[in-house]
């Protein structure tokens, strides 16, 4: 009951401050989250602020590349409340998304990883650079069109670069 009440309160707050959003119910026992919010890139920061003010934590950010633009996925939850929100947005090829790492410090490395793996840019990130791959890699390995093997001919990376 308490979880439902807090979710209802959050809905009202979000409608107030960010305009009405489309909430889709999901089946938590199967897919691990209770609702999906699809929104436009421009409203992400507003939503993140409201969620942060309401005490939700950001678990992680990732992306899915189905071959036509990227789908960015953010998971927010309230520790121990038993519900989780999935916030999803689409970016066109080359379109930056707003960074939320001033609101959620955990987003700093999460956004770097999404950039590293998918090439997604985040406007306002203080230091958007690769995190897992070498700094001189010229590919983003989790993109739809990436083929493993071509890039890895043994001497691709310049290990003496520093």
């Amino acid at each position: 009951m308490e979880a439902e009440a807090s979710l209802h309160e959050l809905k009202r707050l979000l409608d107030d401050r960010c305009g009405s959003l489309s909430w889709q119910e999901a089946e938590p026992a199967l897919c691990g989250y209770s609702h999906t919010i699809w929104l436009e890139v421009e409203r992400l920061r507003c939503l993140a602020r409201v969620l942060a003010d309401s005490g939700l934590v950001l678990e992680f950010i990732t992306a899915v590349d189905r071959g036509h633009g990227l789908e960015l996925v953010y998971f927010f939850s309230r520790p121990a409340a038993g519900w989780r929100l999935k916030v999803a947005l689409r970016t066109a090829e080359g379109q930056p998304a707003p960074s939320i790492c001033d609101i959620y410090p955990v987003a700093n490395w999460q956004e770097r990883e999404v950039f590293d793996m998918f090439g997604q840019r985040f406007d306002g990130h203080p230091d958007l650079k690769r995190i897992l791959l070498p700094a001189d890699a010229d590919f983003h390995p989790l993109r739809h069109d990436f083929q493993a093997g071509e890039q890895h001919d043994g001497d691709h990376f310049d290990l003496e670069r520093d």
Binding site: F75, G82, V106, M117, R130, L142, F146
Partner: protein, 369 residues
């Protein structure tokens, strides 16, 4: 300190990537003012093997052996988490006996992981004796687990729908000897270390992370609980047998290195309790239910969370309806836990860096994936 504000006498020090106290290939680029840290930049990715990419190139079954190679100290837990995630997404049933065995193994693995951490942490702080004790205990544990899993570290024991083989006599005998011995040793550890004034001075009040900072930084696991937040996925989103088991969630108050140490030692005791309960109630029956050779979830996305030795593991599976997943993201606890260093370290001493880094308990292959 005044001088440092007037002139810039700072210099850079590379801590790692090859350094025994960085627990794997972690590279910390430190800017120092004398012994004090002005700036810290963790550089990671040295053991990036592309597990997520591999997962997107093969069927769910073919990826199973990879899971134990991310967090090699909690391989059984990663096995378990992955199997639970796939079973839930594909609707595969697991016989009760198999689930009990999995929980026993996962909790033993948690003890093993904490033991290795305990030994290595004290070694970082200059105490060699506890390391020898911890590895002695851990060796017993590895021998017991080896009886049924056939391996020492990178286990691949869980299967979709159960486990690879049933418990045997050697396992049960070994465990019967291990549990009381571990309890005695735990008491020794407290006498030897928790009450040791040198240890207390090195860890108490060092690397303090308060609850709000911990939550904002995405902490989970023992690090978060040491800051006083009683968040444990086994309680918050119960899976497997955990709703039926009686155990406590140890928490700390100060969020310093000492609390993180105490939380882990207390978790060893709680894991022993869980193992005992599971052994006592262990039902008879099959240990493996029939499951499709290549399970295929319906199109959609599935997130499964699991409490590993270092915190919350999230497996995010996106299926397009084929045998090979469209996307598989592994959210690993150490990644977020480590990302707090740049804001935590400035102002501390180099020696404290080792104490703080050790207390976070990072496993680099898990972070780098």
């Amino acid at each position: 300190m005044l001088r440092a504000t007037l002139t810039d006498d700072t210099f850079y020090l590379n801590l790692g990537p090859q350094h025994p106290s960085t627990h794997g290939v972690l590279h910390l680029l430190l800017r120092l003012d004398g012994e004090r840290i002005v700036e810290c930049e963790p550089i990671i990715g040295y053991s990036h093997r592309g597990h997520e990419h591999m997962a997107q190139q093969r069927t769910l079954s073919q990826f199973l052996p990879n899971t134990g190679r991310m967090d090699y100290l909690a391989a059984l837990m990663y096995n378990h988490a992955y199997c639970l995630a796939v079973e839930r997404a594909c609707g595969i049933a697991v016989p009760p006996r198999a689930e009990y065995i999995r929980v026993i193994c996962a909790e033993l693995n948690r003890i093993g992981s904490h033991l290795l951490w305990f030994g290595a942490y004290l070694l970082d702080l200059g105490g060699i004796t506890p390391f020898l004790y911890a590895f002695d205990d851990r060796e017993d544990l590895l021998a017991v687990l080896g009886e049924i899993t056939g391996s020492r570290l990178t286990y691949n024991y869980c299967r979709f729908g159960g486990v690879a083989r049933d418990l045997n006599q050697a396992f049960c005998d070994g465990l019967e000897a291990f549990i009381p011995k571990m309890r005695r040793r735990l008491a020794d550890y407290h006498t030897l270390v928790s009450k040791n004034i040198i240890f207390i001075n090195r860890t108490r009040g060092i690397g303090v992370v308060d609850a709000d900072t911990a939550l904002a930084a995405g902490f989970s696991g023992p690090c978060l609980r040491a800051s006083g937040v009683d968040y444990d996925v086994r309680r918050a989103e119960p899976y497997s047998l955990y709703p039926e088991l009686d155990f406590e969630i140890p928490t700390g108050q100060n969020g310093d290195c000492f609390d993180r140490f105490m939380v882990r030692l207390q978790e060893i005791e709680q894991s022993l309790r869980i193992v005992e309960q599971a052994l006592e109630r262990l039902p008879e029956g099959e240990v493996k239910a029939p499951a499709p050779q290549h399970p295929t979830p319906d199109p959609g996305d599935y997130l499964f969370t699991y409490e590993s030795a270092r915190g919350r593991v999230g497996i995010y599976l996106v299926s397009g309806g084929g045998r090979v997943p469209l996307r598989m993201k592994w959210q690993v606890p150490s990644f977020n836990n480590l990302s707090v260093l740049p804001s935590l370290l400035p102002g501390t001493l180099v020696a404290d860096t080792i104490a703080i880094l050790g207390s976070i308990d990072v496993v680099m292959p898990e972070i780098d994936r």
